[in-house]
Amino acid sequence: MKSKVKLWLEKGTIDIFIGYKTINEHTIPHCFTKSNLDEVDELVVGPMRYPLEGIATDIAADQPDAKIGLLVRDCNTRALNVLYIWNQLDRDHIKTITVNCCPSRLKQHGDCSYLEPEKAGAYKKQVGLDSNMDTSDLEAFGQEERLGRWMYEFQKCIKCYGCRNICPVCFCKECSLEHPDLVGPGKLPPDVPIFHLVRAVHMAGRCIDCGLCEDACPVDIPLRLLYRKVNEIVLDVFDYDTGTHPDQSPFSVLGDGVTLEPKPLEAA
């Protein structure tokens, strides 16, 4: 893998390679370039997980012609697909090296920080929602109970924007969550459930279920569960499978039946 990266950088196949490097015992994203080729030996693959494609998007926004190499897992691949669809990255400018993801019967070993999500405690199970819950278990609760449980989870929010900042498919220049008319500023918890519902709506047809938001959330709001359910709705209603579908989501363009030409008057 390291020799491949070196070869790519030397040949100019890519200008920059985004991988991980351990600095002061912390494995963090690092950009490897041709000018510092020996550094590639320090490239590491471990359970640490960051939205590398998000970094690539930022680079591409600044330098549209840059050819970028990436270390990808399955979730990164899905995120890349979404970013290609929404014209945030150019498919021809991205080179990927696939590394280990979740374990399966064929490959026993897995590298992912999210393999063992935190277990919910007794109180959370009693009044809130278990992050490891199946979406079908969620429907087993009645409407009222579900509202209470979601509100318990949402009320914990400290509005750190961690879920948005870590999200690999959040690329908007202006964010609705920062708009003072939509989400009132200077209040904790933020306007619940509006804050979380706004994000949930925006995740429809976008979220690739990587779980980074839930991983980043300091108060353990089951965000992955929420967005997973949201995308189940998108799949059920619009038959759109987020992350693998080749077209933009059903919310991106005007409806099929709408044309912008004035309709001719019917002959009398």
Partner: protein
């Protein structure tokens, strides 16, 4: 587009537990009868669902958040303790 978003939003509200409180209808200005029918039906539906449960829930201390007065109590108690041992003065 509207119908797509509304259908999605109706499902999302159902997931959160506020289902049935959003309705979409296309009514022309010439369809007074239809307008009356839709509004009457929807009003009746909302009446059976009852008032919006969100404000009540926000007041409920079971939401896992300690009510503000309790916060104050806790802080006051802590302040009293620290003033007894004069820790604040030491810190300053």
């Amino acid at each position: 587009m509207t119908i797509k978003r509304m259908t999605f939003l109706q499902e999302l509200l159902k997931l959160i537990g506020l289902g049935g409180r959003l309705h979409l209808s296309w009514i022309s200005s010439a369809e007074a009868q239809k307008y009356v029918q839709v509004v009457t039906d929807f009003t009746e539906k909302i009446r059976t669902l009852g008032p919006n449960p969100l404000p009540l829930l926000a007041k409920n201390s079971k939401m896992g958040r300690i009510p503000e007065q309790d916060w104050d109590k806790g802080i006051n108690a802590a302040l009293k303790k620290t003033s007894n041992t004069n820790r604040l003065a030491k810190c300053a």
